[in-house]
């Protein structure tokens, strides 16, 4: 029996070791070597003392924050309304559908929409508003990023809202609460686990976006993700790239810890 259990766990362990632990160790190891292959802490000193990298870090966090906020503001009401519809599973499917399409394809589709000769500008010229620079702006970057992340926010919020026992809402009304009071005192706190899961699912990947920053943001927005790509593919400074990678990983753990612990608190003590 015991033997069988160990056997079943082998693929999982292999996976963890090969694709999670090993890369982590490699990145950390790489980050301790400079471009000439010498063991040094220079990469970290450079990172911490150079204004460029710190600004980049700040930028990444700031944009990830904005993307998460915009996504949340759009996704929460969406998930809420979806939950009250008759065929809610069907409508949810429509929201999730775009995630089945490759990210790069969607990004190119947006280039097609936003470019000077794209559909939107054609329409604007048609109604006499002239053409505008849409691509390579902060707004278009935010728009596309939010568009791509929304399903990952809607899904966990939808699930946590669906889990709320409807008699809790009746109980709240029964005790005299208005619609709004019921929302703030019962529905919102009970959907918190979904909101936190959504934030994790959106904020962390947003920290290291690089394709959209290049293709839609036109490198106006330089994030840590862009920097890593640059170091690995262009300047070949793997050590510096890994150092930024380590920073990103630490940031992810901080976010996970912050949202994870808060979840515990909501569920138990308070």
């Amino acid at each position: 029996m015991m033997r069988q259990k160990t056997l079943f766990i082998v693929p999982y362990l292999l996976w963890i070791v090969l694709f999670v632990l090993a890369p982590l160790i490699l990145i950390f190891y790489q980050s301790l070597y400079n471009i000439n292959g010498q063991f040094t802490l220079d990469n970290y000193t450079t990172y911490l003392t150079s204004g460029v990298y710190l600004k980049m870090t700040f930028n990444s966090v700031w944009y990830a924050f904005l993307i998460t906020l915009v996504t949340l503001v759009i996704s929460y009401p969406t998930a809420y309304v979806l939950n009250r519809l008759h065929n809610k599973q069907f409508w949810l499917l429509l929201v999730i559908l775009p995630t089945w399409i490759n990210l790069l394809l969607k990004t190119y589709a947006f280039i097609g929409l936003f470019s000077r000769t794209g559909s939107i500008n054609q329409f604007l010229r048609f109604v006499g508003l002239g053409s505008h620079q849409l691509l390579f702006t902060d707004a278009s970057f935010m728009f596309v990023a939010a568009y791509i992340e929304i399903p990952f926010m809607v899904l966990p919020i939808f699930n946590s809202l669906a889990e709320i026992n409807p008699s809790l809402i009746n109980a709240s009304k029964d005790l005299g609460a208005s619609q709004w009071q019921t929302f703030t005192k019962v529905i919102w706190p009970l959907s918190m686990p979904g909101v936190k899961a959504g934030i994790q699912a959106v904020f962390i990947p947003s920290l290291s976006l690089f394709m959209i920053t290049r293709l839609i943001g036109g490198n106006r927005v330089i994030t840590l993700g862009t920097a890593i790509e640059e170091h690995f593919l262009t300047t070949q400074n793997w050590g510096m790239g890994s150092t930024i990678g380590v920073v990103l990983i630490i940031a992810m753990f901080i976010v996970m810890f912050a949202t994870g612990e808060a979840k515990q608190k909501g569920g138990h003590t308070r």
Partner: protein, 363 residues
């Protein structure tokens, strides 16, 4: 005369084509303990939902303290509910749950604390305020649910199968506690159950619901002793129900044999149904018995023996007796005229009451 706090007038409820309630009429007097009793799916919860305001009737009017309240939203009704699944807020502790209604009303902090403590005391949960809901047992959760409702001092408290999740012992204990609580607070309770023993033990008034209609309403004793029809007689308590013929007033024939009874007001030779409760039947000798039969089974149930006897016409009688008999023995069955209750087919509750009045006055 006590005042009517609530009234249903010709209330009907329909979900699409599914008729759930038809022509429900009743009056609720302030300060009494009412029970809605009926089988699963009969419409009990629907009635509570209409009273609480979670649903609106399709037809008819609901009055509360003389005002029609059909369109008053749930949060503005002076009614509180103890839900079947308790519906306690999982993100709040016991005290926060109980305080919810008072906070909404904007009651002062110090007063909230005092009233919450008082309510918890009342349901014997003093000191449990800081506990999480998940750390409470089923019986304790139910008390929290009761405390959360009564702390608001509602005029009417609705309880939907509030005891059904508890084990037998706790349930009987809670029945007594609920009854005492109701007397102490003087609040009108409307209690829903499908357990007839519970209904008989707790209520001032019982309303028996079947298939979206009120079959009979009255005190537990009235309903037990004078069931209106086959459904009620069968649903409340154990009973022997046999067809009979009402020869004339105070004389009914069962199995072609005439018996004196205390019922009257029917047509001569009307076909009727006769109810005799198992505990009203006694086993005697063959000579002294009004009916004669053979003992089929005997089951000891702690307080008494449950015996079945088939008579010469192969009709099976259920008898509850504190005396033992022998399986296979020939015995007599005896009963008194008062033990017989005669029911007419398809008599309405109003006609039934009128008929009862007519001959009871005449006596």
């Amino acid at each position: 005369m006590t005042e009517n706090i609530m009234e249903f007038r010709h209330v009907g409820k329909q979900y699409d084509d599914n008729v759930v309630l038809r022509d429900i009429n009743f009056k609720i007097e302030a300060g009494k303990f009412y029970t809605l009793l009926g089988p699963s799916g009969s419409g009990k919860t629907t009635i509570l939902r209409l009273i609480a305001g979670f649903d609106q009737p399709t037809s008819g009017e609901i009055y509360f303290a003389g005002q029609e309240i059909n369109d008053v939203p749930a949060n503005r009704r002076q009614v509180n509910t103890v839900f079947q699944d308790y519906a306690l807020f999982p993100h709040m502790n016991v005290a926060e749950n109980v305080a919810f209604g008072l906070q909404i009303k904007g009651v002062k902090k110090s007063e909230i604390k005092r009233r919450v403590d008082e309510a918890l005391q009342l349901v014997q949960l003093a000191g449990y305020g800081a506990r999480e809901i998940t750390a409470m047992s089923g019986g304790q959760r139910q008390r929290v649910a009761i405390a959360r409702a009564i702390v608001n001092e509602p005029q009417v408290l609705l309880l939907d199968e509030a005891l059904s999740a508890l084990d037998h012992k706790l349930r009987v204990q809670m029945q007594t506690e609920l009854r005492q609580l109701q007397r102490k607070l003087g609040i009108t309770f409307i209690f829903v159950t499908h357990d007839q023993e519970e209904a008989l033990a707790m209520s001032d008034q019982i309303m028996i619901i079947n298939d979206g209609k009120i079959q009979q309403s009255g005190t537990p004793v009235d309903i037990y002793d004078e069931p209106l029809n086959h459904f009620v007689a069968d649903f409340i308590g154990e009973s022997n129900i046999v067809p009979g013929i009402m020869k004339k007033d105070y004389l009914v024939a069962i199995n072609g044999q005439d018996f004196k009874c205390v019922d009257a007001g029917m047509r001569p030779n009307e076909r009727v149904e006769v109810v005799i409760r198992p505990e009203d039947l006694d086993i005697t000798t063959v000579e002294q018995g009004q009916l004669v039969g053979t003992v089929d089974t005997q089951l000891f149930r702690g307080v008494d023996y449950q015996i079945t006897v088939h008579d010469v016409r192969d009709h099976v009688w259920k008898i509850n007796s504190i005396h033992k008999t022998t399986v296979g023995a020939r015995v007599g069955i005896s009963f008194d005229p008062e033990d017989i209750h005669v029911m007419r087919y398809n008599e309405t509750e109003a006609d039934f009451d009128a008929r009862l009045d007519s001959y009871e006055e005449g006596e």
